[in-house]
Symmetry: C3
Subunit: 446 residues, 3 copies
């Protein structure tokens, strides 16, 4: 065979493995590409799971904070309310909230329309059928979002402590976590009119914190102040919390949980950009909390000549609420300013509320509503996509909705079944009067 004959034959012979290799390589590469897509799905889901359990932990934080800031005679009740509200939120958000908040997307099975279409998870072993999935698992998203509904309710329980009855309060939680919160949150996070209007609220300074604060405000107005809190002469009587170690623990728990709250709200961790953004959020969140605490530390020293630990704790929390509307865009220095002003706000608005004779046992309204307003407003400073006007619009819209509906619901509850314990029970303490069980039966004097 001469060379002319040999070459084409050799070429043809060689082509077979070349083609085979190329095809095989492509298949492997495609499957590697798929694996990369799957890795993104896994990492996004993981963010929701870790973020979710951190935000779950905030339920314990609120419980400890509130149990530490009420008087010992009301601690068992405060704990019961907190365990109860979280549990009810978990059920209501499944039963109604999730599908109401994200209409369409998750309406896998609607029974009676959006108001009664319990959440249905994906089947076991997603992807085993070869059908690809994107984003993150429904279960992880539901788990994460549910914690935000519960947080909204936790805010209310602190303000109304020491005088609201258990079941009427839990009834309000049913409405809040099943309907009020999901509806207002859907305006933004469900792709509703506020998000179309350009409102910006990254992790919920308004949607969660101010909303909770407005519900708390409505409740405090309907309920009235604790007996003896405001003297006839205008004097405000301090009713010191029974356990500041618990309150501090609660604050640390909330601080920790907030990394999940804000970090998880990036909603993705499957690219280097997303995970670096989550890191920015962690660093900014921590800075805002630290700045809020230091601001309150310095300010209470300057104003009262004595540092006030409960103000410092609330300062840290106000710093956290302040950065929550935009934890990503700010530089660390901006986060320090935003959080620090949050801390300043608390120091000045806690006494203001007392002047208005609005009795907020743990300071939740200054921390969540007023710092929430500040945080929502200031987004326009660091995020060029936001405008101060739209930020105020969103805050006012959600505030008005939550406040008015909550006011109506609280009034209805008050009219129909009663909202407040008897004076006698209030004096005796809700633990003995309502529950027959003291939190510290061996400790308290008298």
């Amino acid at each position: 065979m001469n060379i002319k004959t040999f070459l084409p034959l050799a070429a043809a012979a060689a082509l077979v493995p070349a083609l085979g290799l190329a095809q095989e390589a492509e298949e492997v590469a495609v499957s590697a590409g798929e694996a990369a897509a799957h890795t993104q799905f896994i990492l996004n889901t993981l963010l929701f799971l870790v973020g979710g359990f951190l935000v779950f932990w905030m339920a314990a934080g609120f419980s400890m904070l509130e149990a530490g800031l009420v008087r010992s005679k009301n601690v068992t009740m405060q704990l019961t309310k907190n365990v109860g509200l979280f549990s009810i939120a978990a059920i209501m958000y499944w039963l109604v909230g999730f599908n109401l908040m994200y209409p369409g997307d998750w309406l896998i099975e609607g029974w009676l329309g959006p108001f009664f279409s319990p959440t249905v998870l994906e089947a076991v072993g997603v992807g085993a059928d070869g059908v690809d999935v994107t984003y993150a698992s429904v279960g992880s998203d539901f788990f994460f979002q549910l914690m935000f509904a519960a947080t909204t309710a936790s805010i209310v329980s602190g303000t109304l402590a020491e005088r609201v009855k258990l079941w009427p309060f839990l009834l309000f939680v049913v409405v809040l976590t099943g309907f009020i919160y999901p509806i207002e949150a859907s305006w933004q996070w469900g792709g509703g009119w506020l998000s179309e209007a350009g409102f910006s609220d990254f992790a919920g300074s308004t949607l969660v914190h101010a909303a909770g604060g407005f519900a708390a405000l409505a409740g405090a107005i309907v309920l009235g102040a604790r007996k003896g809190k405001y003297g006839k002469d205008g004097k405000v009587n301090a009713m010191p919390g029974s356990n500041l170690a618990l309150a501090t623990l609660g604050t640390f728990i909330l601080w920790l949980g907030w990394f999940g709250f804000n970090g998880g709200s990036q909603l993705a961790m499957g690219t280097i950009g997303d995970v670096a953004d989550v890191s920015r959020i962690f660093a900014n969140t921590n800075m805002a909390a630290a700045a809020g605490a230091v601001a309150a530390l310095i300010l209470t020293q300057v104003i009262y000549k004595k540092v006030d630990l409960t103000m410092v704790l609330n300062g840290a929390l106000a710093g956290l609420v302040s950065i929550t509307a935009e934890p990503l865009a700010p530089s660390l220095f901006q986060a320090l300013i935003i959080g620090g002003i949050g801390g300043v706000i608390v120091v000045f608005t806690v006494p203001l509320l007392d002047k208005l004779k609005i009795d907020d046992v743990v300071g939740a309204i200054p921390v969540h509503l007023i710092a929430g307003l500040w945080g929502t407003f200031i987004v326009a400073w660091t995020n060029s996509d936001a405008s101060f006007g739209t930020q105020i619009l969103g805050f006012v819209a959600i505030g008005a909705f939550v406040f008015v509906v909550s006011l109506v619901v609280f009034y209805l509850i008050k009219m129909i079944i009663g909202l407040r314990v008897s004076e006698e029970a209030e004096v005796k303490g809700l633990d003995r009067a309502e529950l027959g069980m003291e939190a510290y039966p061996e400790f308290t004097n008298g």
Copy 2:
């Protein structure tokens, strides 16, 4: 050169880069495929690490729950027992338990056969030698599994509180975490006869919780009730816990840790199917806990006309135990039913135990043993691979083994070194009598 000559030459010339490209592409693709496999290994390991630290955290949860539910005179002792039992579990599970529970698989170095072959971790920098690894790292698996052994022991310490001596109790923990738990758990998770029989216990309603409950029951029987608990007239004297804030904190810690307990028991997170399953498990676990709490909330209101916080806490825990045998298969609605019935069980069985004069200080037997039975049994409802009969078989087999061996061990300890503190010490409190150190030296009255 004419075309006939040119073409084959061109083809041959072109083939070289084509072949080269294809080979190079294949190599890259293969290495990408390898990377994907490695990513799975990393993610599986990460699940064990995160799951493991969450279950570790449950040790703190049990400590706080139990410290909150005993009287203040026994708190230091209860804390000491809990720190001690966890530490001993960590050592015994390394020394014996792990290799006894997973025979063969991990027997890298056996000294004296399976009963004394301490766990040996993989070398530093696994994979650096080019040898591939699969599944997850041994260290992460050991870390995760060890926490389950410790959990089993934590259950026992609550029941026996306020009267068992420190060292005899810790001696029992040596036997429980080194031998009893690993042996019975190997029947299922070590690929033993129960797993071959078709028994199904995803994360350990029977293997961990009921087993701990049976050991606790054996201990309670051998030990007898606390002095004064049961009056001669059949009256049950309440001995209220000293710190319900701690008990609530403990419950929240356990609830949080349970996401690791059940979620980590998926044993893999490296595929979209696995991570979506972990998400299902998180959502179902949370739902069952919430349902258990709400069930106890409502039921105690209905039965006793007053909500009982300790029942609500135990209701949440019973919900968690109930879902542990099968947290994956149920829908959220089924998880609600399963967990809710768990809560109901607690409300009815806590008084039942008192009628039997079995003194279980924290209610661990209703929560872990009886709700464990319920959870194990009901697997067959949601998981078609399980049958009610086999579920009962597994529960009875493990229960009988753990109960009988524990009974023998407790009796032997009682006979040889004594198990119970003196009456005088019990009255005085174990803290002062046995340890000379009070938990709250400045707080308690009298």
Copy 3:
């Protein structure tokens, strides 16, 4: 067309798709390779984030431990100091510390040289510009490292409790977290002279723990003992902690956080080797803590005939400090020995310190300084890259620097603004005297 003509034509025709496939495959494969690199970046960053929030949690652990070990009259102050010191550390480490500790690397924007170049995070959405990043995100690294600076300060607050004034203490924290810690840590982790000399300190037995212990020692010397602690007859008066449940909770929190402290110090989780190493670290860290607790448990029983819970807690912590210098190389058995000896050290050195009349309220010097020495020294046993001599050199160098500078700073503070509260305030309690706010206003007797 004859075969000779056909073949080359066919070959040429076939080449086009073959080449195309190969190129396409290569592109996909390259992008898959990129994805794998990105996955490493994400996983490394995730390790810092999870490790970072776990170490953050240690701030709560120190708070609870210290609040539990001081007398109730000083609890609010101790809590305030802890929240304050963490917040100040967060600000100082941003303002100065981070760029001082890692010179060059992160000096993105220096204002006034290394002593004033606040940390600047990466831009939002890193990688979107197509520029690749390596290692991990700056934000996550900053977040993680910041927690170590805060930990160093937390150690000091425990020793100086019950007598140091708030603001002077916080002023020291400014210097410690902004300058002292970053400078000495840069000698090793910033690639400085100690790392070049071959010193080995994986996660900071010397750099963090002994450094904190040396600063605490300097403070204790300048400050003097609490009034009444050491009688004229040489008698040491016990001043029992007010809340051992809190102290135990704090210890469990620290134990949990330590998985992040040591595990995160692997600095990478993107390969199977790295994640398996993180697993080794988790398992060894847990073993050392358990061994330290058991050693103290047994030893206090043997020596004092009564188990001492505070010693057991400090034993666990000493085990953790001991393994921190080298949590990777040891086998589980070696970790047990290293941690166990840490526990023994605590039992023997706590009374020793009292003999020297150095008043360390929580035992931080034995736990962090002396067990830190042990842990640093023994690295050479398990890590063949380390030598006993260089280990001692590093410990002495850092110890001398931190001790001398701290001594000077504490003296200056004492001279200029005063360091210690008045005798009257000490007797009355810092809470009422300095803050006007009690931690447990309803609990304490008298």
